[in-house]
Protein backbone atom coordinates (compact mmCIF):
# COMPACT_ATOMS: atom_id res chain seq x y z
CA UNK A 1 0.00 0.00 0.00
CA UNK A 2 2.83 2.40 0.86
CA UNK A 3 4.40 1.59 -2.52
CA UNK A 4 1.12 2.30 -4.31
CA UNK A 5 0.58 5.66 -2.58
CA UNK A 6 4.21 6.73 -2.93
CA UNK A 7 4.23 6.04 -6.68
CA UNK A 8 0.81 7.65 -7.18
CA UNK A 9 1.93 10.78 -5.37
CA UNK A 10 5.21 11.02 -7.24
CA UNK A 11 3.67 10.53 -10.67
CA UNK A 12 0.98 13.12 -9.97
CA UNK A 13 3.61 15.62 -8.85
CA UNK A 14 5.61 14.96 -12.00
CA UNK A 15 2.54 15.29 -14.22
CA UNK A 16 1.56 18.63 -12.70
CA UNK A 17 5.14 19.90 -12.39
CA UNK A 18 6.64 22.27 -14.90
CA UNK A 19 7.18 20.34 -18.11
CA UNK A 20 4.44 17.89 -17.12
CA UNK A 21 1.87 16.69 -19.59
CA UNK A 22 -1.41 17.94 -18.11
CA UNK A 23 -1.55 21.33 -19.80
CA UNK A 24 -0.49 19.90 -23.14
CA UNK A 25 -3.14 17.20 -23.11
CA UNK A 26 -5.94 19.64 -22.28
CA UNK A 27 -4.66 22.07 -24.88
CA UNK A 28 -4.65 19.35 -27.52
CA UNK A 29 -8.17 18.25 -26.56
CA UNK A 30 -9.58 21.77 -26.80
CA UNK A 31 -7.83 22.59 -30.07
CA UNK A 32 -8.78 19.27 -31.71
CA UNK A 33 -12.44 19.74 -30.79
CA UNK A 34 -12.58 23.38 -31.91
CA UNK A 35 -11.08 22.54 -35.30
CA UNK A 36 -14.29 20.77 -36.29
CA UNK A 37 -16.56 23.82 -36.42
CA UNK A 38 -13.83 25.61 -38.38
CA UNK A 39 -13.79 22.82 -40.94
CA UNK A 40 -17.50 22.05 -41.15
CA UNK A 41 -18.96 25.53 -40.83
CA UNK A 42 -20.92 27.11 -37.99
CA UNK A 43 -24.23 25.34 -38.72
CA UNK A 44 -25.56 24.95 -35.16
CA UNK A 45 -27.80 21.92 -35.61
CA UNK A 46 -25.14 20.12 -37.63
CA UNK A 47 -22.48 20.78 -34.97
CA UNK A 48 -24.67 19.61 -32.11
CA UNK A 49 -25.29 16.37 -34.00
CA UNK A 50 -21.60 15.53 -34.38
CA UNK A 51 -20.54 17.01 -31.03
CA UNK A 52 -20.54 13.72 -29.02
CA UNK A 53 -18.42 11.99 -31.66
CA UNK A 54 -16.02 14.93 -31.96
CA UNK A 55 -15.50 15.27 -28.22
CA UNK A 56 -15.13 11.54 -27.66
CA UNK A 57 -12.60 11.16 -30.47
CA UNK A 58 -10.77 14.20 -29.11
CA UNK A 59 -10.61 12.50 -25.72
CA UNK A 60 -9.27 9.26 -27.25
CA UNK A 61 -6.52 11.07 -29.14
CA UNK A 62 -5.60 13.26 -26.17
CA UNK A 63 -5.24 10.15 -24.01
CA UNK A 64 -3.08 8.43 -26.64
CA UNK A 65 -0.84 11.46 -26.78
CA UNK A 66 0.30 10.99 -23.19
CA UNK A 67 0.48 7.19 -23.14
CA UNK A 68 3.90 6.69 -24.70
CA UNK A 69 5.59 8.32 -21.69
CA UNK A 70 3.69 6.15 -19.16
CA UNK A 71 6.56 3.66 -18.66
CA UNK A 72 9.11 5.01 -21.15
CA UNK A 73 10.42 7.74 -18.84
CA UNK A 74 11.05 5.20 -16.08
CA UNK A 75 12.75 2.81 -18.47
CA UNK A 76 15.07 5.53 -19.72
CA UNK A 77 16.26 6.69 -16.30
CA UNK A 78 16.63 3.15 -14.96
CA UNK A 79 13.81 3.57 -12.47
CA UNK A 80 11.66 0.83 -14.02
CA UNK A 81 14.08 -1.86 -12.79
CA UNK A 82 13.88 -0.46 -9.29
CA UNK A 83 10.09 -0.17 -9.39
CA UNK A 84 9.91 -3.85 -10.29
CA UNK A 85 12.48 -4.76 -7.60
CA UNK A 86 10.89 -2.62 -4.92
CA UNK A 87 9.10 -5.55 -3.36
CA UNK A 88 5.65 -4.59 -4.63
CA UNK A 89 3.99 -6.76 -7.29
CA UNK A 90 4.30 -5.37 -10.82
CA UNK A 91 0.50 -5.10 -11.03
CA UNK A 92 0.53 -2.67 -8.08
CA UNK A 93 3.09 -0.55 -9.92
CA UNK A 94 0.91 -0.58 -13.05
CA UNK A 95 -2.25 0.24 -11.13
CA UNK A 96 -0.63 3.20 -9.38
CA UNK A 97 0.71 4.51 -12.69
CA UNK A 98 -2.68 4.04 -14.39
CA UNK A 99 -4.50 5.88 -11.61
CA UNK A 100 -1.96 8.71 -11.76
CA UNK A 101 -2.36 8.78 -15.55
CA UNK A 102 -6.14 8.97 -15.28
CA UNK A 103 -6.06 11.67 -12.60
CA UNK A 104 -3.68 13.76 -14.70
CA UNK A 105 -5.23 13.05 -18.12
CA UNK A 106 -8.72 11.52 -18.03
CA UNK A 107 -10.10 13.58 -15.17
CA UNK A 108 -8.97 16.96 -16.60
CA UNK A 109 -10.57 15.94 -19.91
CA UNK A 110 -13.83 15.19 -18.09
CA UNK A 111 -13.68 18.59 -16.39
CA UNK A 112 -13.07 20.48 -19.64
CA UNK A 113 -15.64 18.55 -21.66
CA UNK A 114 -18.75 20.58 -20.61
CA UNK A 115 -17.05 23.67 -22.01
CA UNK A 116 -16.52 21.95 -25.35
CA UNK A 117 -20.09 20.63 -25.26
CA UNK A 118 -21.36 24.19 -24.88
CA UNK A 119 -19.04 25.37 -27.62
CA UNK A 120 -20.41 22.80 -30.04
CA UNK A 121 -24.03 23.57 -29.12
CA UNK A 122 -24.79 20.39 -27.20
CA UNK A 123 -28.00 20.56 -25.11
CA UNK A 124 -27.65 20.50 -21.29
CA UNK A 125 -28.98 16.94 -21.07
CA UNK A 126 -26.38 15.89 -23.62
CA UNK A 127 -23.60 17.68 -21.72
CA UNK A 128 -24.57 15.93 -18.51
CA UNK A 129 -24.47 12.55 -20.27
CA UNK A 130 -21.15 13.48 -21.90
CA UNK A 131 -19.60 14.05 -18.47
CA UNK A 132 -21.08 10.78 -17.18
CA UNK A 133 -19.82 8.69 -20.10
CA UNK A 134 -16.35 10.27 -20.04
CA UNK A 135 -16.16 9.66 -16.30
CA UNK A 136 -16.92 5.98 -16.87
CA UNK A 137 -14.95 5.63 -20.08
CA UNK A 138 -11.67 7.48 -19.57
CA UNK A 139 -10.36 5.12 -16.83
CA UNK A 140 -10.79 2.31 -19.35
CA UNK A 141 -8.72 4.27 -21.85
CA UNK A 142 -5.87 4.54 -19.32
CA UNK A 143 -6.04 0.85 -18.39
CA UNK A 144 -6.16 -0.51 -21.94
CA UNK A 145 -3.58 2.04 -22.98
CA UNK A 146 -1.22 0.79 -20.25
CA UNK A 147 -1.01 -2.58 -22.01
CA UNK A 148 0.02 -0.86 -25.23
CA UNK A 149 2.49 1.34 -23.37
CA UNK A 150 3.93 -1.72 -21.62
CA UNK A 151 4.29 -3.67 -24.85
CA UNK A 152 6.00 -0.82 -26.68
CA UNK A 153 8.25 0.41 -23.87
CA UNK A 154 11.79 0.64 -25.22
CA UNK A 155 10.58 0.84 -28.82
CA UNK A 156 11.48 3.91 -30.82
CA UNK A 157 8.53 5.87 -32.21
CA UNK A 158 6.39 4.07 -29.66
CA UNK A 159 3.66 6.72 -29.87
CA UNK A 160 2.51 5.72 -33.34
CA UNK A 161 2.81 2.02 -32.57
CA UNK A 162 0.64 2.44 -29.47
CA UNK A 163 -1.97 4.25 -31.55
CA UNK A 164 -2.11 1.42 -34.08
CA UNK A 165 -2.25 -1.24 -31.36
CA UNK A 166 -4.66 0.43 -28.99
CA UNK A 167 -7.11 2.53 -31.01
CA UNK A 168 -9.00 -0.55 -32.30
CA UNK A 169 -9.42 -1.68 -28.69
CA UNK A 170 -10.95 1.69 -27.83
CA UNK A 171 -13.85 1.07 -30.25
CA UNK A 172 -16.35 -0.34 -27.69
CA UNK A 173 -15.77 2.59 -25.34
CA UNK A 174 -16.22 5.02 -28.23
CA UNK A 175 -19.44 3.37 -29.46
CA UNK A 176 -21.14 3.19 -26.08
CA UNK A 177 -19.78 6.53 -24.89
CA UNK A 178 -20.69 8.68 -27.88
CA UNK A 179 -23.83 6.57 -28.44
CA UNK A 180 -25.17 7.27 -24.95
CA UNK A 181 -24.80 11.03 -25.47
CA UNK A 182 -26.75 10.74 -28.74
CA UNK A 183 -29.47 8.73 -27.03
CA UNK A 184 -29.72 11.27 -24.21
CA UNK A 185 -30.18 14.19 -26.59
CA UNK A 186 -32.96 12.22 -28.33
CA UNK A 187 -34.62 11.56 -24.97
CA UNK A 188 -34.05 7.78 -25.18
CA UNK A 189 -32.96 5.30 -22.51
CA UNK A 190 -29.21 5.43 -21.86
CA UNK A 191 -29.15 2.77 -19.14
CA UNK A 192 -27.84 -0.10 -21.28
CA UNK A 193 -25.04 2.01 -22.80
CA UNK A 194 -23.87 3.18 -19.38
CA UNK A 195 -24.06 -0.37 -18.04
CA UNK A 196 -21.93 -1.60 -20.94
CA UNK A 197 -19.40 1.21 -20.37
CA UNK A 198 -19.21 0.14 -16.75
CA UNK A 199 -18.80 -3.49 -17.77
CA UNK A 200 -15.93 -2.62 -20.12
CA UNK A 201 -14.27 -0.73 -17.27
CA UNK A 202 -14.63 -3.70 -14.90
CA UNK A 203 -13.13 -6.07 -17.47
CA UNK A 204 -10.27 -3.75 -18.34
CA UNK A 205 -9.31 -3.34 -14.68
CA UNK A 206 -7.79 -6.84 -14.27
CA UNK A 207 -6.94 -7.28 -17.95
CA UNK A 208 -5.17 -3.92 -18.16
CA UNK A 209 -3.18 -4.21 -14.91
CA UNK A 210 -2.14 -7.84 -15.32
CA UNK A 211 -1.51 -7.45 -19.05
CA UNK A 212 0.67 -4.37 -18.58
CA UNK A 213 2.49 -5.99 -15.65
CA UNK A 214 3.35 -9.00 -17.79
CA UNK A 215 4.44 -6.70 -20.63
CA UNK A 216 6.74 -4.77 -18.28
CA UNK A 217 8.35 -7.95 -17.02
CA UNK A 218 9.18 -8.76 -20.65
CA UNK A 219 10.39 -5.23 -21.31
CA UNK A 220 13.11 -5.15 -18.64
CA UNK A 221 14.62 -8.39 -19.93
Amino acid sequence: MSAFLALLRRDLRLAFAQGGSVGLVIGFFVIAATLFPLASGPERAELARVAPAVIWIGALLATLLSLDRLFQADLEDGGLDLLLLGGAPASVVVLAKCLAHWLSTGLPLVLVSPLLGLLLGLEPVGILMLVKTLLLGTPTLSLIGAVGAGLTVGVRRAGILIAVLILPLYVPVLIFGAGAVDLATLGLDTGPSLALLGAVLLVSLPVGTLGAAAALRLAVL
Partner: protein
Protein backbone atom coordinates in the same frame (compact mmCIF):
# COMPACT_ATOMS: atom_id res chain seq x y z
CA UNK B 1 23.55 -16.81 0.91
CA UNK B 2 23.33 -16.17 -2.79
CA UNK B 3 24.35 -18.99 -5.12
CA UNK B 4 24.12 -19.88 -8.77
CA UNK B 5 24.32 -23.35 -10.23
CA UNK B 6 25.26 -24.00 -13.84
CA UNK B 7 23.85 -20.60 -14.81
CA UNK B 8 23.65 -19.80 -18.50
CA UNK B 9 21.70 -17.45 -20.71
CA UNK B 10 21.04 -17.03 -24.40
CA UNK B 11 20.24 -13.52 -25.62
CA UNK B 12 19.56 -12.71 -29.24
CA UNK B 13 20.50 -16.26 -30.31
CA UNK B 14 23.91 -15.88 -28.72
CA UNK B 15 25.03 -17.70 -25.58
CA UNK B 16 26.31 -14.88 -23.38
CA UNK B 17 27.82 -17.28 -20.86
CA UNK B 18 27.16 -20.70 -19.41
CA UNK B 19 28.13 -22.86 -16.47
CA UNK B 20 28.47 -19.97 -14.03
CA UNK B 21 28.99 -21.24 -10.48
CA UNK B 22 29.12 -18.36 -8.03
CA UNK B 23 28.41 -18.18 -4.32
CA UNK B 24 28.35 -15.09 -2.16
CA UNK B 25 28.17 -15.49 1.59
CA UNK B 26 27.61 -12.93 4.37
CA UNK B 27 30.30 -10.27 4.45
CA UNK B 28 31.73 -11.29 1.10
CA UNK B 29 32.38 -9.10 -1.89
CA UNK B 30 32.74 -10.36 -5.45
CA UNK B 31 34.22 -8.17 -8.16
CA UNK B 32 33.10 -9.11 -11.67
CA UNK B 33 35.69 -8.47 -14.32
CA UNK B 34 35.79 -9.09 -18.02
CA UNK B 35 35.88 -7.29 -21.35
CA UNK B 36 32.92 -5.31 -22.69
CA UNK B 37 30.18 -7.64 -23.78
CA UNK B 38 31.31 -10.49 -21.54
CA UNK B 39 27.98 -10.36 -19.72
CA UNK B 40 28.76 -8.61 -16.44
CA UNK B 41 25.57 -6.55 -16.53
CA UNK B 42 23.58 -9.58 -17.68
CA UNK B 43 24.88 -11.62 -14.75
CA UNK B 44 23.94 -8.86 -12.30
CA UNK B 45 20.44 -8.66 -13.76
CA UNK B 46 20.12 -12.44 -13.45
CA UNK B 47 21.19 -12.24 -9.81
CA UNK B 48 18.59 -9.51 -9.25
CA UNK B 49 15.86 -11.61 -10.84
CA UNK B 50 15.27 -9.02 -13.57
CA UNK B 51 16.26 -11.63 -16.16
CA UNK B 52 15.47 -15.32 -16.20
CA UNK B 53 18.29 -17.75 -16.98
CA UNK B 54 18.02 -20.07 -19.98
CA UNK B 55 19.61 -22.88 -17.96
CA UNK B 56 20.55 -23.24 -14.32
CA UNK B 57 19.19 -21.22 -11.45
CA UNK B 58 19.92 -18.57 -8.87
CA UNK B 59 19.17 -19.49 -5.28
CA UNK B 60 18.94 -17.64 -1.98
CA UNK B 61 19.50 -19.88 1.04
CA UNK B 62 18.74 -22.83 -1.17
CA UNK B 63 15.42 -21.62 -2.58
CA UNK B 64 15.18 -20.51 -6.20
CA UNK B 65 14.64 -16.75 -6.49
CA UNK B 66 12.20 -17.37 -9.35
CA UNK B 67 9.72 -18.76 -6.79
CA UNK B 68 9.19 -15.37 -5.19
CA UNK B 69 10.66 -12.47 -7.12
CA UNK B 70 9.07 -9.84 -4.90
CA UNK B 71 10.69 -11.30 -1.77
CA UNK B 72 14.02 -11.38 -3.58
CA UNK B 73 13.55 -7.76 -4.64
CA UNK B 74 13.07 -6.79 -0.99
CA UNK B 75 16.41 -8.27 0.02
CA UNK B 76 18.58 -6.56 -2.55
CA UNK B 77 19.68 -3.19 -3.82
CA UNK B 78 20.43 -2.92 -7.50
CA UNK B 79 22.29 0.03 -9.01
CA UNK B 80 22.34 -0.16 -12.79
CA UNK B 81 23.57 2.23 -15.45
CA UNK B 82 20.71 4.68 -14.88
CA UNK B 83 20.52 6.79 -11.75
CA UNK B 84 16.71 6.43 -11.55
CA UNK B 85 16.28 10.13 -10.82
CA UNK B 86 13.37 12.38 -11.73
CA UNK B 87 14.97 15.64 -12.77
CA UNK B 88 11.93 17.76 -11.89
CA UNK B 89 12.02 16.60 -8.25
CA UNK B 90 14.50 17.76 -5.64
CA UNK B 91 17.39 15.55 -4.59
CA UNK B 92 15.68 15.00 -1.24
CA UNK B 93 12.33 14.09 -2.81
CA UNK B 94 13.99 11.64 -5.18
CA UNK B 95 15.45 9.68 -2.29
CA UNK B 96 12.36 10.14 -0.13
CA UNK B 97 10.25 8.60 -2.89
CA UNK B 98 12.33 5.41 -2.90
CA UNK B 99 12.19 5.24 0.90
CA UNK B 100 8.41 5.57 0.84
CA UNK B 101 8.07 3.17 -2.08
CA UNK B 102 9.97 0.56 -0.09
CA UNK B 103 7.95 1.36 3.02
CA UNK B 104 10.97 2.43 5.07
CA UNK B 105 11.38 5.56 7.22
CA UNK B 106 12.00 8.81 5.36
CA UNK B 107 14.24 9.93 8.26
CA UNK B 108 17.08 7.97 6.69
CA UNK B 109 17.18 10.29 3.67
CA UNK B 110 19.15 13.14 5.27
CA UNK B 111 21.82 10.78 6.56
CA UNK B 112 22.04 9.10 3.16
CA UNK B 113 22.52 12.50 1.46
CA UNK B 114 25.16 13.52 4.01
CA UNK B 115 27.05 10.29 3.51
CA UNK B 116 27.71 11.26 -0.11
CA UNK B 117 28.30 14.91 0.70
CA UNK B 118 24.99 15.96 -0.85
CA UNK B 119 23.44 17.37 2.32
CA UNK B 120 23.48 20.97 1.05
CA UNK B 121 22.02 19.97 -2.33
CA UNK B 122 18.88 18.34 -0.89
CA UNK B 123 16.49 21.18 -1.82
CA UNK B 124 17.82 21.52 -5.39
CA UNK B 125 16.08 19.88 -8.36
CA UNK B 126 18.02 16.82 -9.49
CA UNK B 127 18.09 18.35 -12.98
CA UNK B 128 20.65 21.01 -12.00
CA UNK B 129 23.12 18.50 -10.54
CA UNK B 130 26.28 17.50 -12.40
CA UNK B 131 26.71 13.98 -13.76
CA UNK B 132 28.88 13.00 -10.81
CA UNK B 133 26.43 14.46 -8.31
CA UNK B 134 23.56 12.59 -9.95
CA UNK B 135 25.55 9.39 -9.70
CA UNK B 136 26.17 10.04 -6.01
CA UNK B 137 22.49 10.75 -5.48
CA UNK B 138 21.62 7.47 -7.22
CA UNK B 139 24.12 5.59 -5.07
CA UNK B 140 22.84 7.28 -1.90
CA UNK B 141 19.90 4.86 -2.13
CA UNK B 142 22.34 2.23 -0.87
CA UNK B 143 22.49 4.09 2.44
CA UNK B 144 18.70 3.94 2.94
CA UNK B 145 17.22 1.02 4.88
CA UNK B 146 19.55 -1.95 5.04
CA UNK B 147 19.21 -4.80 2.60
CA UNK B 148 21.55 -7.78 2.64
CA UNK B 149 22.55 -7.99 -1.03
CA UNK B 150 23.98 -5.19 -3.16
CA UNK B 151 24.33 -5.61 -6.93
CA UNK B 152 26.31 -2.72 -8.41
CA UNK B 153 26.89 -2.24 -12.11
CA UNK B 154 29.83 0.08 -12.80
CA UNK B 155 29.05 2.26 -9.76
CA UNK B 156 32.18 4.40 -10.10
CA UNK B 157 31.37 5.86 -13.52
CA UNK B 158 31.68 9.68 -13.37
CA UNK B 159 32.59 9.63 -9.67
CA UNK B 160 35.58 11.64 -8.42
CA UNK B 161 38.27 10.00 -6.29
CA UNK B 162 36.77 11.22 -3.02
CA UNK B 163 33.35 9.81 -3.88
CA UNK B 164 34.89 6.46 -4.83
CA UNK B 165 36.39 6.42 -1.34
CA UNK B 166 32.97 7.13 0.17
CA UNK B 167 31.48 4.28 -1.84
CA UNK B 168 34.26 1.92 -0.77
CA UNK B 169 33.63 2.92 2.85
CA UNK B 170 29.90 2.32 2.47
CA UNK B 171 30.55 -1.13 1.01
CA UNK B 172 32.96 -1.88 3.86
CA UNK B 173 30.36 -0.91 6.49
CA UNK B 174 27.78 -3.00 4.67
CA UNK B 175 30.04 -6.06 4.69
CA UNK B 176 30.99 -5.50 8.33
CA UNK B 177 27.40 -6.22 9.36
CA UNK B 178 27.13 -9.28 7.14
CA UNK B 179 26.08 -7.64 3.88
CA UNK B 180 27.01 -9.12 0.50
CA UNK B 181 28.19 -7.22 -2.57
CA UNK B 182 28.58 -8.18 -6.20
CA UNK B 183 30.08 -5.36 -8.21
CA UNK B 184 31.04 -5.07 -11.85
CA UNK B 185 33.83 -2.58 -12.26
CA UNK B 186 36.72 -1.77 -14.55
CA UNK B 187 38.72 0.56 -12.40
CA UNK B 188 40.03 1.34 -9.00
CA UNK B 189 37.27 0.53 -6.58
CA UNK B 190 39.51 -0.98 -3.88
CA UNK B 191 37.65 -3.60 -1.89
CA UNK B 192 39.74 -5.45 0.71
CA UNK B 193 39.47 -9.25 0.66
CA UNK B 194 37.23 -9.21 -2.38
CA UNK B 195 37.11 -12.21 -4.65
CA UNK B 196 37.49 -11.58 -8.34
CA UNK B 197 35.28 -13.43 -10.75
CA UNK B 198 36.35 -13.21 -14.37
CA UNK B 199 33.87 -13.55 -17.21
CA UNK B 200 35.46 -14.54 -20.49
CA UNK B 201 34.02 -13.20 -23.68
CA UNK B 202 32.11 -16.00 -25.38
CA UNK B 203 33.51 -17.08 -28.73
Amino acid sequence: MLATSDLGIIRGERAVFSGIELTVGPGEAVVLRGPNGAGKSTLLRLLAGLLSPTVGRVTWDGASIADDREAHGRRLRYAGHGDALKLALTAFDNLAFWARFEGTPVDAVDAALDRFGLGALGPLPAGVLSAGQKRRLGLARLALARRPLWLLDEPTVSLDAASVEVLAGLIWDHRAVGGMVVVATHDGLALPNARTFVLEKAA
